[in-house]
Structures are given as C-alpha cells and as structure tokens.
Subunit: 260 residues, 2 copies
C-alpha cells in the first residue's frame, strides 16, 4: 500500500523568484505534492494586508517540462495568495501551508509586521496547519543550505502531530553554518520593539520625504524567548495564536464600569 502524499501549499512574502522560496519548494517536494502560489513582487512588511479595493491577477507560471508541480504568480499580498490558492486553485484543502523561507528575521515583535507570518496565520484561520520560516539574513544571496534540515524536520513534525485550531508556528533560523546550529528550541515571543528613526530628505521638487530606519530593541531579559534562543545558536519555534484577546486583563477592564 502506498501512503497518499500530503498536499503542501507554498508561499512567501519576498516574491516567487526569491532564493528563499526556491529552497523551500525543493525541500517540500521531498515530502509531499507541492503547489506554489506566491506574490509576483516583494511584499516585506505587509503585515496581514489583504486586497479589497483592487483587482488581483493570479497567473500560472509555465515551468520546465520535467518539473511536476504547479506554480502561480499573484499580484496580491501573502494573505491574498493563501485565500486564492484555497478557493480558486487547489482542488482540496492542503495538509500543510508553509511560508518563506523569508530573507530576514520574523521573531519577536516582527511577527506583527511580517508578510511571511501573515500567510501562515491566514492558513491557520482557514484551519490548515501552517508554518512560517525565516532566516536571520536579509541578503538576497543569503545561504539557505543550513536551513534545509530544520525546515524538513519541523514540516514533517507538523504533518505527523498536527496543530490545534488557532495555532500556527513561527520558525526562525540563525545565520550560522550548519555545524554551528545547536538544535531546535520551543520558545515564547520575546518582548521587544523597534526604536524608530526617519531619514528626512528633500526631493528635486523641494518636497520633504522620509525613509524609515529602525533599530531593534530587546526589552526581554528572559531565557525562554525566541530572541535569546537565536542568540545562543538555536532555531526558534514559537506557537502563534490569532486570538489577540488579552484574557489576563478582562477582569480588570470590567471593573472600570465605563462611567464619567
């Protein structure tokens, strides 16, 4: 008896031609049937944006004859890609959705700004087990080779164990040689923020404009968070939920009574 291969949806936020997604596709093809629906251009920092007031193009990309999987290039955001894939392209609900491998960190507070994670969260909302993968190297020419082993292990673990409703995984991989990575650590999201700075410049027409340039500040002294794990040479795995209720503050807020 041959076991049915899992159906795996692959997407990202750096665009369909980025080296990170090409690595992810190769790894996923070793464990399942792959369909790719990814943005036609880079979408970093898109957060959980969706396209409401504009049309979305989504065209099949014709691949080499000997390539067995299908790929679609989409003008929408990462979240749009997942929506279109599940509704218009895939014939059945995928067994797994993977997003990445992102060129750059999505640990800690970055999960909020991340297009990579928004695709994983969107899949999670639709009840699909999902993982966002990110490498702590922003370079287009980042070395994704050391990531392969961990991406495969974690994806296979999710296929085997499943994930509960409302939970997806945020995986970050340190920028290290394969031999230097110490292993995989389950963590919580570190408390951190970006100290914002803006470069103010003047355009040739005399109008001022800004370039954002932030500085990441870790406010967290704990050793059970993703920022610490990565600094110690571990791959971090954070279970992420999209119930954003601050349950611990409900009772206190109730006590306000909301009177003038």
């Amino acid at each position: 008896m041959t076991k049915k291969k899992p159906l795996i949806l692959v997407t990202n936020d750096d665009g369909i031609t980025a080296p990170g997604i090409r690595t992810l596709i190769e790894v996923m093809k070793t464990i399942g049937d792959v369909v790719v629906v990814a943005p036609d251009s880079p979408q970093s920092g898109m957060g959980h944006a969706i396209t409401l007031s504009n049309t979305i193009f989504c065209d099949e990309v014709v691949l080499k004859e000997n390539v067995k999987h299908k790929e679609y290039s989409c003008s929408g955001t990462p979240a749009d890609c997942v929506k279109i894939a599940t509704q218009e392209i895939l014939k059945r609900k995928p067994d797994l959705c993977v997003s990445g491998i992102n060129h750059g960190a999505n640990n800690s507070i970055n999960v909020i700004y991340s297009g990579t994670m928004s695709a994983a969260v969107e899949a999670g909302i639709e009840g699909i087990p999902a993982i966002g993968f990110s490498l702590l190297d922003y370079s287009l020419n980042a070395d994704f080779e050391p990531s392969r082993k961990f991406v495969k292990t974690i994806a296979k673990s999710v296929l085997k164990n499943g994930l509960p409703k409302g939970v997806v995984l945020n995986v970050n991989i340190p920028k290290l040689k394969a031999s230097e990575i110490k292993g995989i650590k389950v963590c919580r999201q570190a408390k951190a923020h970006w100290e914002e700075e803006f470069d103010r410049r003047t355009n040739p027409q005399g109008r001022d404009y800004f370039w954002a340039k932030g500085r990441f500040v870790n406010d967290d002294t704990g050793e059970d968070n993703d920022e610490f794990a990565l600094s110690q040479g571990y791959v971090s795995v954070v279970p992420v939920q999209f119930d954003m209720t601050a349950h611990h503050y409900l009772a206190e807020l109730e006590s306000w009574k909301f009177k003038e």
Copy 2:
C-alpha cells in the same frame, strides 16, 4: 491651578478626509490637545503593514485660521503614521492615541486585517495607551452621531485608568440609533473567519483577474464575545495584546522533540 490637558494623537485607516476621523477629532478636542497624522488615502485591510521599500511623504495640512490643532497628511500606512508622529512631529509622547472611527466592523477576526487596529497596536508597542474605534457601517455616509458619547466615555476612562504595557483596546459600535444602544460590554474576541469567494472576470486584454468577496462566518456560540455583544446592541470593548504566543500550547509543542 489648571490641569494640563492630555495630548491626543488621532489617526485612522480610511484617510484623513473620512467622516469617521472628522467625528473622532471633534470628540477628542473636547477632552485634550489634538494632533492628527493620518493617511492621505484609504488603507482599509492594510493589516499591520509598514513602508520599508518606499519613501513616505508627510505634509502639514493648512486648516482654517480659527482651528487650533495641527493635521498632517501622510502617504504611508496607519502604522507608519503613528511612527512618524511620535518620532518626527510630536514634541512629547502622547497621553493617548485613538484610531478611527472606522467605517466598518473590526471586531472578532477582523482585528487581524484591520488598519485601524494596526495603528492602535503600533502605539501600544511604543508604550502609548491606545484605542481603535469602529462603527459597524461601511458607508462613507455612516451616521457617527450615536458613537460620540461612547467614544468620549471610553477615551476618558483610558486617560483616567491607563492601560498596562502590551494592551490596547478594540472598540466596536453597533449600527443603531443612540436610544437603541444598550451600553458598553467588555468582551473577548469571537472565534470567526471569512469564507472567501472570488469573482473571476476577464479584462479587455483577455487576462483573467479576481475580486475578493468574503462572507463572515461566526464559529463562536459563546455569549462573552464581541460578536454576541454587538448583536445584542452593546458597544464591545476587547483588550487586545500583541504577544501572539500561544502560551497554552508551549508544553505540548515541547513534547514533540522534533525528531524524524
């Protein structure tokens, strides 16, 4: 002795000319000193997008002579507006950041897609007490009059009580007459999702494209959530956190051991 007036930053995601933000500015001017930094165009569904690969314009809007507050129109996202306001425009950290009043619902899972809430969350990350306000009426000509009383009460309550680090408020107001609104209810975020559909059309050049059109599906039978409170005629107030760690799943995930 005169008490110093609170400094209030006002933003939104429907754009600086939207009737919702005009109402919010009027109400805030009755309780504090107001500075407005808002997108120059509608940004609905932007999630927590930030502008990284493009320039941001942010120009002062010249108001009528008898108007005492300042307004800035910004080409960036709602989250960009908050970042630029705090770093480049305001002379001190504001005492409160309010976003809205959004033309349309941001309760339940919509918090994830919401530009209105992303501005409030961004302020929260920067340690500023923040509230996102939304009216359950998508019309540009929505009636914001019944909202005024509740917006004022909730903003004053936050100024009085403060909010703990890591918590902002998501306030939704039912589309009802003032006399029909029953009061304010503190709630958790309802478990719900959008059942996605896409309208497939063909452009004059023969290329297919899509329009997103979703159907909101409430999967939650509880009576302590925001969807239920709104359906019963209450204004819903959900405390929202941006630690997205699924803490309840950490131990289970640890037990996986991540071996093949």
